[in-house]
């Protein structure tokens, strides 16, 4: 069967593109790491791809805020992006890619043309690299979650990952739309403060998806858990299985294969 073509979009400062492409390959996709300048120059076309992945890193050094310049580039120069999402093709934004998707306004509601949420510095004031427990929203229509358990573990690594919303009202809307895709929880599955919630995000939000479920942005790094040997406790727990992060990529690939 033909492998879905996956665009792993790079920009200056992107640094998780290799391992993200690796995850795509292992999930059965055909990833290509493409620099955004090539698309701007018309030498590659977004619409030729089945899946778009925005990997983590420090796009443009995060010099104007995490993902801000990348978001502007996407908004101003990749006009097809909105169409790509509207057509229902899977879009996955990881960490910096998530921040960029929110800043383009594509998340949490894909049809908003303005940014409706934002990110700010972690409550700890520090960069936080740690593994977290996540609870997936089982009500969500997110195509990336098919067959996943309700509780998973993934690593986060960011300094500016605290999601903030405009109003309490917006939070209610997000809940109603099933847009809250993942929440940081303690190991027994309860909403908890630092360090379970590594950045202090509102309502412990770790990931957002659009109501249609084809566009997912998350702060944790699924591409860093595609093998059991990446789990911090693989030397002690016999029950650590193959990396759950890989399932997110596999679901997107399977979705494209129909």
């Amino acid at each position: 069967m033909k492998k879905p073509r996956i665009l792993v979009l790079r920009a200056a400062g992107t640094n998780c593109d290799l391992e993200t492409a690796d995850a795509c390959t292992q999930a059965g996709g055909a990833p290509e790491r493409v620099h955004i300048d090539l698309i701007r120059a018309g030498r590659a076309r977004l619409m030729d791809y089945d899946i778009l992945v925005l990997p983590g890193g420090y796009s443009y050094g995060d010099d104007l805020g995490a993902g801000r310049i990348l978001a502007n580039q996407l908004k101003l120069h990749i006009k097809e992006l909105r169409n790509f999402v509207r057509l229902g093709r899977p879009v996955l934004g990881i960490s910096n890619g998530f921040q960029a998707l929110v800043k383009t306004g594509l998340l949490p509601v894909a049809h908003a043309s303005e940014q409706t949420a934002g990110f700010t510095a972690n409550d700890s004031g520090l960069f936080e690299a740690r593994w977290v427990h996540l609870r997936l929203n089982t009500q969500s229509s997110c195509l990336f979650f098919k067959g996943l358990p309700e509780m998973i573990e993934l690593p986060v690594a960011h300094g500016e990952g605290k999601l903030v919303l405009r109003s309490p009202r917006q939070l209610e809307d997000l809940k109603k739309n099933k847009s809250i895709a993942m929440q940081y929880v303690s190991d027994d599955g309860k909403l908890a403060g630092y360090p379970a919630n590594p950045n202090g995000s509102v309502f412990n939000i770790a990931a957002l998806s659009n109501p249609e479920g084809n566009c997912l942005g998350l702060m944790p790094h699924p591409e860093r858990y595609i093998s059991k040997f990446q789990h911090p406790n693989w030397t002690r727990q016999t029950f650590v299985k193959a990396g759950v992060g890989l399932e997110l990529f596999r679901n997107a690939v399977d979705y494209c294969r129909g």
Binding site: A12, G13, N15, C16, L18, E19, D22, Q26, H35, D37, L38, G56, G57, Y58, Y60, G61, D62, D63, L126, F127, E128, A129, R130, W131, P155, A157, G159, H221, E223, R224, Y225, I226, S227, F229, Q230, P232, N233, W234, T235, R236
Partner: protein, 783 residues
Amino acid sequence: MPPPAQKNRAPAALDAAELAAVQAHFRTLRREPTPAELETLARAWSEPCRSRTFAGPVRFNDGRKTRRFKNLLDETIVKASRRLNRAWCLSTFQDGAGIVAFGPKWALAFKVEAHSHSCAIEPHGGAETGVGGVIRDVIAAGLGARPVLNTDHLCVAPPDYAGPLPDTVRHPRRILGSVVSGVRDYGNRMGIPTAAGGLWFDDAYRLNPLVFCGTVGLLPAWAVRKEAKAGDLIAAAGGRTGRDGLRRTPGAGPDGNDASAVQVGHALNGKRLLDALLAARDRKLFRAVTACGAGGFAAAVAALAGGRGARISLEKAPLKAPDLAPLEIWLSESQERLLFAVPPRGLDAFAQACAAEGCETAVLGEFTDTGRLVVTHAGTPVVDLDLGFLSRGLPRAEKAAVWTAPKPAGAKAPAREKGLDQILTEGLAHLNVCSREWVIRQYDHEVQGGTVVKPLQGSRHDGPGDACVIWPHAATGDSDDFQGFAVGHGLNPAYGRLDPYRMALACADEALRNLLCVGADVSRAALLGNFCWADPDDPEQLGALVRAAEGCRDAALGLGVPFISCQEILRNQSADASGKTLAIPGTLLVSALAPVADVRKSLTMDIKGPGNALYLVGSTAEELGGSLFHQICGRCFGCAAPAADPRAAAAMFKGVQAALAKGLALSAHDLSDGGLGVAAAEMCFTGGFGAALDLDKVPRRSAIYSDAVLLFSESASRILLEVAPDREAALLKALRGLPAKRVGATMANPVLKVAGLDGRVVMESALSTLKSAWQDALPGRLG
């Protein structure tokens, strides 16, 4: 800042003998040197560009006889490493980074660089340029390597230091915080996991903190060799040249207090440069590459030219400000610049490959075969130097070194009587032992997804791992290849205060022990040595350095493990608040790199379950000099630093490695600061299981009558293993002939219980108490 060109005088960095050599050389040419020529020579001959002391002649007197070295480094460490003649060492003691083979298809480049005074004046910037500099050196190793690991070791004064400080120096707490954020901001942005390193606290580092930044890079085996050819174009790529790089190279001059000190690092440009370099490398678009570090274009061009020759037109360099003087362009140390030798017909492709990553390039000139370095600016001659004189003209004055062995201090009664549990708790809370989680979590230690053994281990991911294991699958692009590598360190200036020779042996031993504990192949290890010392013109200081170098030599020969690169930073001393000179303790960092045949067989140090046996491998002696015990209880018992026996250690490492490869142990942890007590406590609270130890069972070399000595002695070459009951017989068989004994067992009850020599329980501590002492110490003292 006035550009140095306007000062019409000889550079301060040239001493009288050097000026005389320059004078003699130019007399044969029948002309005066230009200011730019003098500066070029001064930079090229300065301590950071050239190991003047370490690779220079030394007359060493150890109190019994006098020995002469023509080249200290060559005749000790390099000679020993050459004698070992390991085939997997592909490039050693040249080109900045050492390169070793990594399987048939790949090679690893490893370099560690120390930075000092710049980090006292401008800690964040100093650390950033430190990380950036070593990354660029590794990027430019061979024909270009992809960085896959950063290491970071800091030596600073305690963060709650309360004594006086001179106005120009920041408080240790600020230095620590800013250095960590500098390493974080550069390393994280480059997408390189910073997963190995350490902290050492000592008051004497308050004026001259040390920052050791290291990088491991992965390169294809075909890309190890490089050579520029005459006719190749000299292309600069990356950041532009500006005044930001015009501070004096540290150590290049006697004045170190230039407060406008540090270049500006820019990680984003560094990342662009890396992406461009690797794209061009894989298309084989250039023949050689080198980083522009200390000495700027001047040093980089000379390094790439080798003995050939080069012609440079400075007006072609892209500038940050249009009004830079030619000399400023030539010597600026602006960051994020690489210099390439590009064959002329490949130039367009090279420029395009760089432009695709947003990286600027410019052709500055070409390599020639004249043996001369000819630099012009818009037609005006700036420099015309014989490259032979530049590289070999430095007059080498013999330096005097003496070593006086410290008088053996007799055993004294303990200064303070403390219970064993109190000593252990205080030891775990000691700054040189306590948890480094505050630092580690700020570094993205898992980017690239290859950190298979993480710096923080155990059931709650918060215990102290011995070393990290990296599985560079993202860089190799082959997830079915489970070959990886591990990096470990050894550093203990407290031993060095007593005997730098023993410090060197202990550091090499510890670095390898760390590797052994995670399952690396230590017989294939390679070592790096970084020496940070005070004034080399002081015979005692230099004598201590000679002792350390001899220690490294004997460690390499005894352990059968070669050094692949060494670096020294000297003159780490400054005037303190009262005007007295404060020197750092002679500090040696030994970093070890070894392959891990199959990362899926790596080990961690946390106790895995109750009912397992604890085996101590390696014998204990009464060796408490410089130990954690002495720092807590005052000096008592024997005061000599631990004496490692590298040959015995090699045999023991071989046995343990074979046992671990057979999967006979569940966990392994090395005994270092705080000896058996600290090691056992760390294993227990990291795994969440208790243990009972019997001190009477501890294997020892000599009669020891004290529980405290058995529990806290820091004898080298010892490892604690956790072994499942059904594997004990096989383990003992594998370790036959080695000092290995069952010293206890693990249990579900979360306490550490120790039975003394008389069979009674002499200590029982709750793991929760021990762990919180260990965890709360650093955050508490950071305030």
